[in-house]
Symmetry: C2
Subunit: 385 residues, 2 copies
């Protein structure tokens, strides 16, 4: 099948940042794309060949969108699976397969999947309703502290909460949920596994999330992770085991905990390009977006090695600033060697809103890390006031 400058049509559900970066690759190869997103301001509205405004959770919208594409993929998991399943049955190629998405979309199902397949993950308890948790604690079934997670997506901003005392349960939605052991980890790692429709599999190097000492927030994604080879190998093995059992097609980003005794536990996965792989645009021989396209089209997978060390810094809105965005000192970071900002194009900023990311590449990791810190300290996402 010819994908390039032909009548082939690729459908993408979701027109956000990941979709936008995927479109650089479809443009590079002149692959015809059709994108659906609920927002008329979606970043993908330009650069795709056809744009459809519609809700990703709406059966009819997704079904009608997918009917005339050759291959259907996603840039976000939160889509209507019944519609995708119907499309699958009617012969549309859907990657990742609906089955994979069903396993991942519900966090309780996802955790059960790990335990069923002997994949190491933090222990957890499943609840039909949040309201059942109090009883379970009072009769000694569940211990504080734990991480509360709603099973389904879409509770914006309140899908996850660390519960240290009974009071923390107040205000949580009364929905299907899980209570996870709070893992006291040494490192948070991630491995992106690419699996093609032909079954070919490749892994990217293990990356490390470096957290801010005080604010418990990821500050840097570092490739390669600064860990022992043995731990890195263990992380890859666990990621490959997840990939093998999930039978995804496309990318699978596997987020992992490295415990203090170097155990590797799966935190969660995403069956698509992922924030932890953004460094690959500047650092890798094959960036994650091109790799996802290669995988779902059954093309040979590209080399996953890095040309140079890569670090990614998220650009989030500064506290106390809400309104028209201004990227303060962006010219100063452009003066630094190997620094590439990616601006997501949201006109409005607000505290902690994800507005873009910056990649820092260098032959030398130590120098890259120093530049990354300078970048972090220099650029500010704020408003004019």
């Amino acid at each position: 099948m010819q994908f390039f400058s032909s009548d082939f049509k690729l459908g993408i559900l979701g027109g956000g940042q990941l979709g936008k970066m995927m479109l650089y690759e479809t443009r590079k190869w002149d692959i015809y794309t059709k994108v659906m997103d609920a927002s008329p301001e979606a970043p993908c509205k330009i650069a795709c060949n056809e744009f459809v405004e519609g809700s990703l959770m709406d059966f009819d919208a997704v079904y009608n969108f997918g009917k005339d594409v050759d291959v259907l993929t996603i840039e976000i998991e939160n889509v209507n699976l019944d519609a995708m399943e119907k499309l699958e049955h009617e012969g549309i190629t859907v990657y990742p397969p609906t089955k994979t998405l069903r396993t991942i979309q519900n966090k309780a199902t996802q955790k059960l999947f790990y335990t069923d397949h002997g994949i190491p993950t933090s222990s957890f308890t499943r609840f039909a309703y949040t309201s059942e948790i109090e009883d379970s604690i009072s009769n000694g079934g569940l211990q504080l502290p734990f991480v509360w997670k709603s099973a389904q997506f879409g509770y914006d901003g309140q899908g996850v909460k660390v519960v240290r005392k009974m009071d923390d349960l107040k205000g949580l939605p009364n929905v299907e949920c899980i209570a996870e052991n709070l893992v006291d980890f040494k490192n948070e790692l991630a491995v992106i596994v690419a699996r093609s429709s032909t079954g070919e599999i490749k892994t990217y190097p293990v990356v490390e999330m470096e957290f801010h000492p005080e604010a418990n927030q990821v500050e840097y994604v570092i490739c390669p992770a600064r860990i022992d080879d043995a731990v890195a190998q263990k992380a890859k093995d666990v990621a490959l085991k997840v990939s093998e059992h999930m039978k995804h097609v496309g990318l699978l980003a596997v987020e992992l905990f490295q415990t203090h005794n170097d155990e590797i536990l799966v935190n969660e996965v995403a069956p698509r390009p992922h924030n932890s792989g953004h460094y690959s645009i500047e650092a890798s021989y094959t960036n994650q977006f091109e790799q996802h396209i290669r995988a779902i089209l059954g093309l040979p997978l590209g080399k996953t090695d890095s040309k140079v060390a890569g670090i990614m810094v998220n650009l989030v809105g500064a506290e106390g600033h809400t309104g028209d965005v201004v990227y303060e000192n962006i010219a100063s970071i452009l003066e630094m060697d190997g620094v590439t900002p990616h601006i997501y194009g949201k006109r409005q900023t607000r505290p902690f809103r994800k507005m873009g990311h910056v990649t820092i590449v260098d032959e030398d990791m130590t120098r890259a890390r120093e530049v990354a810190q300078k970048v972090k300290e220099t650029i500010k996402v704020m408003t004019n006031k």
Copy 2:
């Protein structure tokens, strides 16, 4: 001035391949773009924010297009300069400046510029009409062989001709032209110079065009050129001298001849991203398109070094094939490490039509060169028949 996610508007004259690759960068930085091209099928029609259909040589079209942009640039020199000059006078920022474009657009003026500024170039004679050449030869003024070049652009496919015998003059348009000494060169080199509106200047490494032994056609663009450092330095010095006197803003691609006694002669220049810089997308810390944007917006110039060795192969239509394009064996080249095809998206191929390019990158130049040859021998741009 804020360029990112703001009301700033960048105008680009020309919506072809170079414009398309420039748009990857404006998208990356969320810079609002308005593009004009004569063809409704122009590759830039998508991925820009506004597309205007109009002739680049038409005064009114260019003038009306440029009136509401903040900065106006080009992806091709063949544009209406009177309109750009009027826009300049009315306060629109035009980069490269019209003055630079006037010097370059007319090949006789361009050659005179080199001699006036003591820049080494092959000797030449200027003629008001091609018809004057015969007399000049018969009365011993001009010697065969020489290279005939029409002074003005736009004689598609017949702007340049090597004249070895009187007969070769037949059928040439009777226009203003030059007769250039035929240079017997050892290497054809190129140096891309970036000059920002602030005056900052950076050069990319010297690249080498490797020609096919029989067909006298560029097969590979190789970065860095496999030449002595002394020659490379001389090439950079000549390119910088041209840049300094041209006072361009943005990129200047300087094509050079290295003679058998290692003289460096300027062949011609292009004040924009150039085919000889395509390797930079995969190989350089800052690709040429991002660099052009940095330069015309007065942002700091990026690092021009390479992460790895880079080689570019042009993808041209195979002989004997005219019609709907098929990229034969493209999957086979995707199996090779460090290989990235760029498909320009023309639906129709014809012999020698430029349909795309392929970049090969590797830590090791020798290996890169081997892979480049395999790529060249493997992929074929043809039709289904």
